[in-house]
Symmetry: C2
Subunit: 460 residues, 2 copies
């Protein structure tokens, strides 16, 4: 195809330009978690809007949210054609511990085919792929085959606390046919992949109260009153068995069972369980019986205690029955579990199993349902074709154990199909020192996005 060849050639010819574009943006330390970098965050947003306009977008501006600003861009020069909303984020993680970086995190450096800098792959690099893909179209053809909107968030690394609100207040501005999110990695360098499932998230905080009179002497009262910590361990132990199966009645009622296709796809993936256990430093991987680790991470729900506290945590011993204890718990949900139902189910169960000698208080927060994109959806198939063209292999369909807040927001607020297409590698050290973006992935990613617009325009 001549058109694709034009795009390919453009992308190949402008690698250095794309790299410099990314490096310029990476020099701005847009750490959203650190109040000292508030001005840098805004500067990174202004820089992006300026660059997006320079690349030919019809509109690109910095919009206010209740927190850090959001960049909005658009090119709507293809009336009657589909509209795609691209999501990414320009804020980055903190850089501590700084001494572990081989080169300064905000002075991008290329070594051995990798670009090292904070934000290189998460997520500035993957946003710049979209800028370059846009430029490839506009400069080779003076137009695009569909309409594009860009929303580039500044608070993803702090949990997108204001994104729900922002999207709700900009429904009309964000109206589109499909959302493309580029903030996920692929399975491995040899195994390009599309993410078709992300798990949902709900969380609870359990507070168990014993004597309101305060901590009691464990000798004088031991055996006479219940102990909030012991009671809490009984509660938590009853939520999930030792084999990793959640024991809350009804929890699995709506879980969509893995089909033969998901099982076969996972079975075909290279995954060395012993090597992974060694890498993490655990005696062995562990989880629900009857499922392998990838099945458990992507397609099975789970429940984890993220923190626990109570009584004396210092040196030596303090012989008390503490007045209170508590813990934080999150569950990852899969299709078709309803977060509201699960939230209530677990909270009610906790109340029901709390021993009579203590009081319990449960706070629940529902963060979002699991999202699954049909592999049969035309947008998914278009994305697969685009990725195959760019990387020479058809991508496998994978799940992701984590939960992407904005993906849940788009699902909840806009109720639109989403394509999760990113090209980072599992060893990119996101959130850690020496974050990098492998340049072959960056350049392949630009082509992928350039091809994606053609594929989507031909399909939708």
């Amino acid at each position: 195809m001549l058109q694709t060849d034009d795009l390919t050639r453009y992308c190949d010819d402008h690698r250095q330009e794309a790299l410099e574009e990314l490096e310029d943006w990476l020099r701005i330390p847009s750490i959203s978690a650190d109040g000292a970098h508030r001005a840098d965050v805004r500067r990174a947003a202004e820089h992006a809007a300026t660059r997006m306009r320079a690349l030919g977008m019809q509109r690109a501006e910095v919009l206010e949210s209740k927190g850090h600003p959001v960049i909005y861009g658009e090119w709507l020069g293809a009336p009657g054609k589909p509209t795609v909303l691209v999501y990414g984020h320009y804020d980055v993680q903190p850089v501590d511990p700084l001494e572990l970086w081989a080169s300064p995190p905000f002075e991008p450096q290329v070594r051995d085919g990798h670009l090292f800098a904070r934000g290189a792959v998460d997520d500035k690099g993957q946003v710049v792929m979209h800028w370059e893909a846009f430029a490839a179209h506009l400069r080779t053809r003076k137009t695009l085959p569909l309409n594009l909107k860009y929303i580039i968030e500044g608070e993803e690394e702090i949990g997108s606390p204001n994104f729900d609100d922002f999207v709700a207040h900009h429904r009309d501005l964000l109206a589109c046919d499909v959302v493309v999110v580029s903030d996920t990695p692929i399975f491995s360098e040899d195994v390009p992949s599309l993410t078709i499932a992300v798990r949902g998230l709900v969380n609870w905080e359990i507070h168990v109260d014993g004597p309101t009179l305060g901590d009691q002497h464990s000798g004088l009262f031991g055996g006479a009153i219940d102990n909030p910590i012991n009671a809490l361990t009984h509660i938590v132990a009853k939520l999930k068995d030792e084999h990793g199966r959640i024991t809350v009645p009804g929890f699995y009622d709506d879980v969509r069972e893995l089909g033969p296709q998901e099982r076969a796809e996972i079975a075909a993936l290279p995954f060395d369980e012993a090597a992974e256990a060694k890498r993490l430093g655990v005696p062995q991987l562990h989880g629900e019986r009857g499922f392998n680790p990838l099945e458990r991470m992507w397609w099975r729900p789970t429940l984890d205690c993220n923190g626990i506290w109570g009584g004396y945590q210092g040196e030596g011993s303090k012989t008390i029955i503490p007045a209170k204890a508590g813990c934080k718990i999150t569950a990852r949900l899969v299709p078709d579990q309803d977060p509201a139902r699960i939230t209530k189910l677990v909270a009610d169960y906790i109340r029901a199993i709390t021993p009579p000698g203590v009081r319990v208080h449960v706070e629940s927060h529902e963060a979002g349902r699991a999202i699954v994109t049909s592999r049969e959806h035309p947008a998914t198939k278009a994305a697969a074709r685009a990725m195959e063209r760019a990387f020479g292999k058809p991508p496998v369909m994978i799940g992701m154990g984590g939960s992407i807040g904005p993906v849940a927001t788009f699902d909840r607020t806009l109720r639109l199909p989403q394509v999760l297409i990113g090209v980072g590698l599992p060893d990119d050290q996101t959130h850690a020192p020496n974050e990098k973006f492998t340049l072959s992935q960056f350049y392949g990613g630009i082509k992928t996005m350039a091809y994606l617009w053609d594929e989507l325009a031909a399909t939708l």
Copy 2:
């Protein structure tokens, strides 16, 4: 009995003198836990030795330990007669929160028949009872019916960390026939009592380690690896069931079952379970089935988690599988449990039940076995007669759920019979603001100790 009448009369005639003696000592803020009071602690010891010599003891001096000093006194003027070692302590608890005191803690004040001051009953007041009883004998009869040694510790309120060592290094000095400890309360003002059982104490610290690589993302890895907090809750929940029965195999093997006598004695005591639950602020008392609260506190072993920690304890949520979790556990032992055996039994069991996806490390500390004094021992019977004479009612025999470090030390090091005879009341606010000693108990206690020497001399 003429002699007893003489003692009684002396005690009645010298109440004011006894009160002033105690008040003088209470003015010295001998807070052992507070380094800022180190000189006060020593001053309180010197003051006591001076007073003890003034009262007629043949020897009274301040001996060094590895921590705060120990006061040693003696009157050995009855060769061929039994020797009794009296134990007490002169250090006191801190006074915070100071604003809750109705009068300054180190300015003793009598209100409504109670003497208010820090240390009034715990334990200076009960030591002064012994001084006054000694004086009653010596001044009325110019002699005593037996030999007396006094050891008054300065670190009881901080756990007697150097007392084992001190006793081991002064075996000859402390040689005696029976030990009398006055640091326990009676059951209630209407129910004089002797303590014939104190529980033993052992403790463990459990460390559960998950990924050595550090905290992991609970989304990416949830379901694939075990969670140290969840694993810890399974371990702790398996140590004691929800009804308070310890489920470690073999734990109860050597437990001496309550006899009909203990059951009958406890059944005869006034104890309002609902009122106690209300006072403590718990929905209900709770513990091992088949035993009432006093039976459980005094004669049944128990196991309590004193502290637990792991993962994120701050505001909001952090979606991690923590790298580690841990907890502190103590068990109270009863006759005839062997602390060394129990320590190993529980530690081995914890290791055996640890799930395969985590590693466990257990530290054990063995603090002492349960002590029980035979109610048939002549010294116990002598003490009961002395108390009946002073308070007009025969004392009941009670247990105590706590563990008294020095009692365990005497048992372990000197292997001697002990009499636990104190006259404080349960509402004396020991360790709390407005500690008091009810004067009728103080004066009754002086008589009790004066009579005790006659009773013991006639019996041993």
